[in-house]
C-alpha cells in the first residue's frame, strides 16, 4: 500500500521519460503506418488538350487523406532530361501538368511514352506508359432511332489503327457523372474500334434549348489513360429556368419577400400601437408645458 502511494513521486522522472519514449515511439509508428500513395492519370480531351493529373494521398489504416504541398517533377521518357513540369499538390492533394511545346520532338518521335514522377532524386513512378490514342463521338438519327457512335484509334508504328476491346461510358454528361445513353453501364469497342449505342433516354431534360452534352469516356485505360469526346445534340427537352417557387412570398422567403398579409398585419399593429404611444408621449409633453 505504502509503496503504491509513494510510487508516482519517486519515479516521476522515470515516468516522464517513459511517457516521452512511448509517445515518440507511437508517433514514429504512426508515421510509418501511414503510407503515401502517388497516382498519375493521363487525360486526353477531345483529341486536343492532353494533361497529366497527379494525386497524392496518405493512407492510414483505411483512411485516405489528401496531402497538400508535395513537390514532384514529371519527366517524359527519360528521367532527368525531358522535364514536363515541376508540380506542387494543392489542398485536395492534386496537381496538373500540360506537356510543354519544348518537348515536341520527343513527343512526335514515338507512339508510346513513359511518364516518370520524381520526388527529390527518387523515382516514385517509373512504369506509367501511355500509347497515343484518339476518340471520336458521332450521332446519327433516322426513323426515330437515335444512335451514338464512338470509335477509338491508337497509334502503332506511327500509324493510326483501330483499338479493339476498349471499355467506355457513353451517355449524357451530368453533374458529377455520365448518365448512360442505353441500358448498359459500359460499352466495349469491336474489332473496328467502334461501338454503337442506341439512345434510349426519352424526354431527358436538356438545357434551355433542349441540348444535351453527349460524351464518350474511356476512364483510366491501361494503355491509353483517359479519353474523352464530347458532342452537343438537340435530343433533350428544353427546360426553362423556373424560379417561380423561389420567388414566392412565403414564410420561408427572405425579408424582401415577406407575404403581403403578414406585412399588412404587422405594420397595422405596429403603427396602431406606436401611433397611440407617440400620441401619449405628446400628451406628457403637453402636461409638461402646462406646468412650465
Amino acid at each position: 500500500m505504502k509503496k503504491l502511494n509513494i510510487f508516482p513521486f519517486q519515479n516521476r522522472p522515470t515516468l516522464l521519460l517513459f511517457v516521452f519514449a512511448v509517445s515518440l515511439l507511437t508517433r514514429q509508428l504512426a508515421a510509418q503506418e501511414g503510407k503515401k500513395i502517388v497516382k498519375l492519370h493521363y487525360v486526353n480531351s477531345n483529341n486536343r488538350v492532353q494533361y497529366l493529373l497527379l494525386e497524392c494521398v496518405l493512407k492510414k489504416g483505411k483512411v485516405l487523406t489528401p496531402i497538400s504541398n508535395q513537390s514532384y517533377k514529371i519527366y517524359l521518357d527519360s528521367a532527368g532530361t525531358n522535364l514536363i513540369s515541376n508540380l506542387t499538390t494543392d489542398e485536395t492533394g492534386k496537381a496538373k501538368a500540360f506537356i510543354p511545346p519544348s518537348l515536341k520532338a520527343v513527343w512526335d518521335a514515338s507512339s508510346q511514352h513513359t511518364f516518370i514522377v520524381m520526388s527529390d532524386d527518387e523515382e516514385v513512378i517509373s512504369d506509367f506508359v501511355i500509347t497515343k490514342a484518339k476518340i471520336t463521338l458521332d450521332t446519327s438519327g433516322a426513323d426515330g432511332v437515335r444512335n451514338l457512335t464512338a470509335s477509338v484509334m491508337k497509334m502503332e508504328n506511327n500509324k493510326w489503327i483501330p483499338a479493339a476491346d476498349v471499355e467506355m461510358k457513353v451517355g449524357v454528361q451530368r453533374l458529377g457523372g455520365i448518365l448512360s445513353a442505353g441500358e448498359e453501364d459500359n460499352y466495349t469497342t469491336d474489332s473496328s474500334g467502334t461501338l454503337i449505342v442506341e439512345f434510349k433516354r426519352d424526354k431527358l431534360p436538356g438545357d434551355q434549348k433542349g441540348n444535351l452534352l453527349l460524351v464518350a469516356k474511356v476512364e483510366d485505360n491501361e494503355l491509353f489513360g483517359s479519353l474523352i469526346a464530347e458532342k452537343k445534340a438537340l435530343w433533350g427537352v428544353a427546360t426553362k429556368v423556373d424560379t417561380a417557387f423561389f420567388d414566392q412570398r412565403t414564410l420561408w422567403s427572405t425579408r424582401f419577400r415577406t407575404p403581403y398579409w403578414l406585412l399588412f398585419m404587422a405594420y397595422s399593429i405596429i403603427f396602431g400601437v406606436w401611433g397611440t404611444l407617440i400620441y401619449l408621449i405628446r400628451q406628457v409633453i403637453k402636461i409638461k408645458k402646462l406646468g412650465a
Binding site: 486536343r48 494543392d90 485536395t92 454528361q173 453533374l175 417557387f245
Partner: protein, 311 residues
C-alpha cells in the same frame, strides 16, 4: 483581378478553339454546372495529342480552375436553373461513416459534432433495424428558415439551405425548429480559428466562400457542399462512400450519381420506392431515401463501428 471582363459565360464554351480547350480541362467538369471560370488572361502553350502547339488560359493549369469569388448577395441567390437533390440508398449502408469523416475533415467540423450522422434506426419493436445516414434535408419549405430573425439562414434557388455565419446572431431558434436535428452550434472557438486561420476568410477550399464557413457563436450544418457543386463536383460525403450509398444530382437534369453509377432520378425513385423523412410535417425535403430492401450488408456488420466510436 478583373473578373468581370474575363468570365466567359457557358454559352461561349462550345464555340471556336477555346471549346476544345475548355472541354478538356476538367474531366469531371459539367458545363451545365460550372458556369464560370476566372480567366487569368495569361496563356500557356502546350502540346496537343497530335503534337500541335496550342494555347490555353493559365487558369486551367489548376486541377480545378478557380470559379469567381461571389458576393454575399450572389451566393445567397444560388446557381440559377439548378435544384440539387440527394438520394440515400439505405440498402447499401453498413455504417462505415466514411461520409462522416470526409465531411468532418473537409469542413473542419468540431470534434464530437457531425454534419452528417449515421443513425441506427429501428422503427418499432419487431421491424428490422437499419442504418440511416442523415444530413440536412435542404427542405423546400424549411422550418429553420421560417424562424430566423435576420435572414442568416436562407433558401437558395438551387434548393440549398445555407447559413451566413457572418450574420447569424446565435439565437438557436433554427435548431429548435429543425425537426431533423440537422443543426449544430459552434459552442466554442472553431477548429478553423484555433488552428490559426482567421475565422473571417479561411475556408477549406478555394471555392467561393462568402457565406459558408464556421464562426464561434453561430450555427452550422450540412450545406450540400456548394463550393463543390459550383465547380461541378460531387459533395465530399458522396465521393467518400465506398458503397455508393449517396447519390447526388440536379433535379432539373433528372439525374443523380454517386460518381460510379448514374441514374435517372425519376426512374430510380419509382423503381425503388423512394421516400422522404417526415413527409407529414410538410417540410418537403430535398433528400430522398431508398428503403433498406435486398440489403448489401446485414445490419449487424455496422455495429462494430458503433461501439468503437461512441466513446
Amino acid at each position: 483581378m478583373k473578373n468581370n471582363n474575363n468570365i466567359p459565360r457557358r454559352d461561349f464554351l462550345f464555340t471556336g478553339l477555346l471549346t476544345a480547350a475548355l472541354g478538356g480541362c476538367n474531366d469531371k467538369k459539367n458545363p451545365f454546372a460550372q458556369d464560370e471560370v476566372v480567366l487569368t488572361g495569361e496563356k500557356v502553350k502546350l502540346l496537343s495529342v497530335d503534337g500541335e502547339v496550342i494555347e490555353i488560359d493559365k487558369a486551367f493549369l489548376k486541377p480545378i480552375p478557380d470559379v469567381p469569388h461571389l458576393t454575399n448577395a450572389e451566393e445567397r441567390e444560388g446557381i440559377p436553373g439548378k435544384k440539387f437533390v440527394m438520394v440515400i440508398d439505405l440498402a447499401r449502408c453498413k455504417n462505415l461513416r466514411k461520409c462522416q469523416s470526409a465531411c468532418n475533415h473537409m469542413h473542419q467540423v468540431h470534434p464530437g459534432q457531425n454534419w452528417i450522422k449515421v443513425l441506427g434506426m429501428e422503427d418499432a419493436d419487431h421491424t428490422a433495424p437499419y442504418w440511416q445516414p442523415t444530413t440536412c434535408m435542404h427542405c423546400d419549405e424549411p422550418p429553420c428558415v421560417k424562424v430566423c430573425p435576420v435572414d442568416a439562414t436562407f433558401k437558395r434557388q438551387d434548393g440549398i439551405v445555407l447559413i451566413d455565419n457572418e450574420r447569424c446572431i446565435g439565437c438557436r431558434f433554427c435548431m429548435a425548429a429543425c425537426p431533423y436535428s440537422a443543426r449544430v452550434f459552434n459552442w466554442e472557438e472553431t477548429l478553423m480559428a484555433s488552428q490559426g486561420g482567421s475565422e473571417e476568410h479561411h475556408h477549406h477550399n478555394s471555392g467561393p466562400t462568402s457565406v459558408a464557413h464556421q464562426v464561434k457563436g453561430t450555427v452550422g450544418k450540412c450545406d450540400f457542399c456548394p463550393e463543390m457543386t459550383r465547380q461541378g463536383e460531387l459533395p465530399h460525403c458522396v465521393s467518400a462512400c465506398p458503397n455508393g450509398v449517396f447519390m447526388f444530382g440536379d433535379l432539373n437534369e433528372d439525374t443523380v450519381t454517386n460518381g460510379a453509377e448514374t441514374f435517372r432520378f425519376s426512374e430510380l425513385i419509382k423503381d425503388k420506392a423512394g421516400y422522404r423523412l417526415m413527409e407529414d410535417l410538410g417540410t418537403k425535403p430535398s433528400v430522398y431515401y431508398l428503403p433498406p430492401v435486398n440489403r448489401n450488408f446485414p445490419y449487424e456488420s455496422g455495429l462494430e463501428k458503433e461501439t468503437g466510436d461512441e466513446k
